[in-house]
Symmetry: C2
Subunit: 248 residues, 2 copies
DNA sequence: CGAAATCTTGAGTATAATCAAAAACGGTGG
DNA sequence: CCACCGTTTTTGATTATACTCAAGATTTCG
């Protein structure tokens, strides 16, 4: 089936609008972009390492992640993806996928054919630049994750990933009053941080004890944003948010 | 001063040629691309985190790296860059640099103004796509580094980074008979692997004892490539080399 | 309500960090 | 060519962070 978003609700258009003012022409082209919608339940692979996809997937709602497996069967999550992200946009130019994408929560996703993306890019250079820019921000996030996993310990590592998630969720309107819904299990955080699940649990308790976070089920509350940022050594520059969205 | 390469020696053109056959027009445009050449001695920053550069730098020869510092003064190298790489190409679309680039050995670099790159991309969409693709491969390498630092231990982590370097050096003709010159100190490897220098030293000794590597000064020899690959759990897919260069 | 997943706790272990000092190496200048 | 200096590599001993294993508590969801 084709997408039928109210213009304001198409998360792709919203994201591009936040970077620059779309012309009517560009907006029209984006609204007409064929998109095959699907709902995918939690913990399902959307695409797998080794695939040679002919389309990319836009996460419309829900949480997903990109991950790789080591030869010894250990999983490393390399990024969390939220509404508006296209976690496999790189497959437009790289034939073989080098990582898998899996849902974390139930997701609504839109598949966009590469041929349609290519046609769009060919006609609208500013959209090409915007897509390229998105993949460059993804790369900036990977860089920061290398730093996080390589050089930060326990609680600052955990705090950092929480800061990143909150800022990114805030940018797409998914944080209200320092509260957000974060359906990510401690085991999944472990795979993102290079920790064991047990260690994540202990670090969580430490953060709670220090009053840096509050959890009730999947609901996360940040009582004191500045203190969490401090504990995380968090500097949001690498997310390259535009001013209006950079509420960090 | 302007660049004056023999066509075959311009590492940027060589790299693009390895992806697709350039038209005469495209090759001409690349040869005419204004490039300010400089020689930079070892351990010098070329650009720094926080800069807002108006040009990008092509590494023509030598070894460099991109790195970030944590608030506690620890350094994490997020990538090694070799001849033909443009480690800060992302600054074409991201105003503020989120990482620094430093030389490791004495380097010959060419600075290319963003306005010239933009003009080139505007006129030659295939070159745009090729540059975009290069940044996507950078991102794929960052992903693999997250896995390496997050989920591999001691010798496989070290072996993996050696495998990557060797394959990339081979792709640009800097490996002969399983021997290459690798002017990277153990302290620098430590910053790339998230280890202490002492631990890198011990892992090196382990790899030597297992006959996986041989070192004489900065000269690295790989007696048995398959065994090193095995120890590293190395799969070169993520480097997205084209067939002719994929001698891994 | 019951089963499965997730979270939590404890105990023992392993990988890697830190600190400190010595040996080897590489380049420079006399 | 050799002595000297700074850097890099190496070694040893101790400590710390995080892992593993195992079991019990809690939550979630059908």
């Amino acid at each position: 089936m084709q997408a039928s978003f109210h213009p304001d609700y198409n998360p792709l258009i919203r994201k591009l609008e936040s970077i620059f003012k779309l012309t009517d022409d560009e907006r029209q082209a984006l609204q007409n972009l064929p998109m095959q919608m699907a709902t995918i339940k939690e913990d399902q692979d959307i695409v797998r390492e080794g695939d040679r996809p002919s389309r990319s997937c836009l996460i419309v709602s829900g949480f997903a992640c990109a991950y790789k497996m080591t030869a010894h069967g250990k999983r490393q999550i390399v990024s969390f993806t939220i509404a508006g992200d296209i976690p496999d946009l790189q497959s437009l130019h790289l034939k073989v996928l080098d990582s898998s994408v899996s849902t974390i929560s139930r997701c609504s996703v839109g598949f966009i054919a590469h041929e349609d993306l290519r046609a769009l890019c060919e006609r609208y250079p500013r959209i090409t630049a915007a897509f390229w820019r998105e993949t460059l921000i993804d790369a900036a996030i990977f860089r920061e994750w290398v730093v996080n996993v390589g050089r930060r310990e326990g609680s600052s590592r955990m705090a950092h990933i929480l800061c990143e998630l909150i800022v990114r969720l805030k940018a797409v309107g998914l944080v209200e009053d320092d509260v957000c819904d974060l359906p990510i299990t401690q085991g999944e955080f472990a795979d993102a941080l290079g920790f064991s699940p047990v260690h994540v649990n202990r670090v969580f308790q430490q953060l709670r004890a220090e009053g840096l976070i509050l959890t009730q089920g999947t609901r996360l509350t940040i009582p004191d944003w500045d203190r969490l940022k401090m504990a995380a050594e968090f500097d949001p520059t690498y997310l390259h948010l535009v001013q209006e969205n950079a509420a960090a």
